[in-house]
Amino acid sequence: MEMSDIIFYIIAFVIIAGGVLAVTSRKIFRSAVFLLISLLGIASLYFFIDFEFIAAVQIVVYVGGIVVLLIFSIFLTHGSGADMPRPAPLRMVFSLLSVALGYALAMLFIREEVFVPSTLPAASLEVSSIGAQMLSTTEHGFVLPFELVSMLLLASMIGCIVIAIKIKLPPHPIVNDADEDAADHSLNQPLQTN
């Protein structure tokens, strides 16, 4: 067994263990940290097969962006570090069963398929060639999806602000729980009389 194989198996173990702990840990903050470890493992797999640019993007966007956003929202919505309730046993059993069967089926397909490795010379993976192809308007250019994605990012940014903004109306203060129950009651009333 070569050194690179050992490194690969260590990375694989980190990814899988991080993923399993992220979906089974009952403390939500620990869950987020295990997700971070798993995402870092995937970034190191990208380094392992020499896709340095994707690895850097993975670290910047996922570790620096999404996980930090998740941790912020955990702090905003979970006052105390209380344990999450355990999932219902029946749901856990059936989820495990379906996941195991799905994994077995997918692995069966993967093992039966014959993949022909390419012998063609590898394309340049430098950032300059990636950038040139991304913004090229010729046949294999990606300028249209690039522009579409920039529009999507702008739209989602505005959408996030509109959804999360808190509008205070002075004459009608934000409904508290009691008002909400009353509103529920008045909503249910016509249904019952009809």
């Binding site: 899988i16 797999l45 996922y62 998740l70 912020f72 010379p121 999360a164």
Partner: protein, 104 residues
Amino acid sequence: MGHIGLLHFLTISCALFFIGVYGFLTRRNLITMLMSIELILNSVNLNFVAFNKFLFPHKLDGLFFTLFIITIAAAEAAVAIAIIINLYRNFRSIDVEDADNLKY
């Protein structure tokens, strides 16, 4: 690169995908469900990069797909967290079972 081939990468990404599916099925908390979705998206990214590396090294298509998936995942996570925070304001909880106003 030793004996590490496409099959190893596909095994890892397959396992990661189904770990994410398991989390999505068992968790009832919106933030942890979002984490499961991130795991699923990452397994897909790993698949794209591995296929690009081992089967089509003369092209960069898998790399570009991965880049765009990462971008869209970031946008999706931001919108989802905005919705989660809005939901928390209205229900004081982010459990999916608590938001049942449209159920009856």
